[in-house]
């Protein structure tokens, strides 16, 4: 049996990001994404700014995923949370297929925004795992394959499948017929 290595020195390899250049390059993409999901220009612009603020908390992931994919995922989550808070069912315009599915996913609790020990415990012992709603939007609303979805969120394909299975029962008849 291998002895467990005990480590005392913490890592501190913070990823440096330049928000200004990321905003200039990816801002239009993020705005289009938010506009598409929210169907309202003003709300889309607000959400777009929230995405770049939230990016600061995800700088580590920039080393593992292309910025466009990471920003797309963050924008999806931000917009899902906005849809839930707005509680505007079938009132928004927009070119998103499966609006009913999107809004149902938005209603599910997302513990990813909580921070601190309590949030971590909540994530483990209750509520949906982080980003399951986002995974469902990427696969069933956006149409990404399982492999493309996995690459976008930094999970394995089996991990993505497991997340989708976990949501299926909760959404019942709204869940797409094609199995993940």
């Amino acid at each position: 049996m291998q002895d467990l290595e005990r480590v005392d020195e913490p890592r501190d390899d913070r990823i440096a990001i330049d928000p200004e250049s990321l905003y200039r390059r990816y801002g239009p993409m993020v705005l289009r994404r938010c506009r598409r999901l929210l169907g309202d220009e003003e709300r889309a612009r607000d959400a777009m700014q929230d995405v770049f603020v939230e990016l600061l908390s995800h700088r580590e992931a920039l080393s593992e995923r292309a910025p466009s994919s990471l920003l797309w995922v963050i924008a999806t989550r931000v917009c899902l949370n906005r849809l839930r808070s707005l509680r505007r069912r079938r009132e928004t315009t927009g070119e998103v297929a499966d609006r009913a599915l999107l809004e149902a996913l938005a209603e599910l609790p997302d513990t990813s925004e909580r921070t601190g020990a309590r949030g971590l415990l909540t994530r483990l012992f209750g509520g949906e795992p982080e980003s399951s709603r986002v995974i469902a939007v990427l696969h069933h609303v956006d149409g990404l394959t399982l492999e493309e979805t996995a690459a976008a969120v930094g999970l394995s394909v089996s991990g993505v499948r497991k997340r989708l299975r976990g949501l299926r029962e909760r959404l019942g008849a709204l869940w797409p017929m094609e199995d993940a």
């Binding site: 005990r6 913490p10 390899d13 905003y23 705005l31 289009r32 580590e60």
Partner: protein
Amino acid sequence: MKRRDAVPELLVERLRLGELSSQEAARVRERLARADELDRLRVPDEPGFSRMPDALRERLARTREREASRRRHASRGWSLAVTAASFATMALVLALPTAGLRDKGGEAPALVVYRQLTTQRDHEALADGARARPGDLLQLGYRPGSERAVAIYSIDGRGIVTTHLGPTRAAAANEQRLPTAFRLDDAPGFERFLLVTGDELAEAALVPALRTLAARPDARTAPLVGPWRVVSLTLDKAPP
């Protein structure tokens, strides 16, 4: 239901940004051409992105300051909490009967793997199937639920078994964190953590079962056979 033959908008955006490999870009262009949707590559200019708005710049500055402040205040709290938890766990095991502490609701045991982020103070809980890299600094936590005994092991893609917590009596029903963190090594494929619980656990029975599991070609998903309950959480160490 989104048409499976439609080109996802994320791929179109990444093509516009030049973030696809030449092969991927060619495939996406071909799909768009087949669907007569090459005009999706053209989008109107979005005004207002030549520079970041001052309001957003200020929000980012405030967010950075809040994060820095939180790290400063939490810096003693994290290490103290880990130290206190380990002492508290020892005290409870020695001084109190386990029956008085047990969660009698039949609650299921749970396992959590925390990964340190940028500093010792920031961390995230990893889900089953999450990606991990050699050198990632991890800390384990568990909740025994209504079980009397717990142990935590891991097996990796090389077939190596590691003890994280030898069989011990479950001191309390709430979450316990192991007092030390550890770094993932460069074993390929996966690192699978197993929280083993039951009425009684003995290494004499666990070790052979773990070695048998670790030697299997399907060690990543096969069950740990024996008179115990297992919660498994696997990290994917495959290259991106």
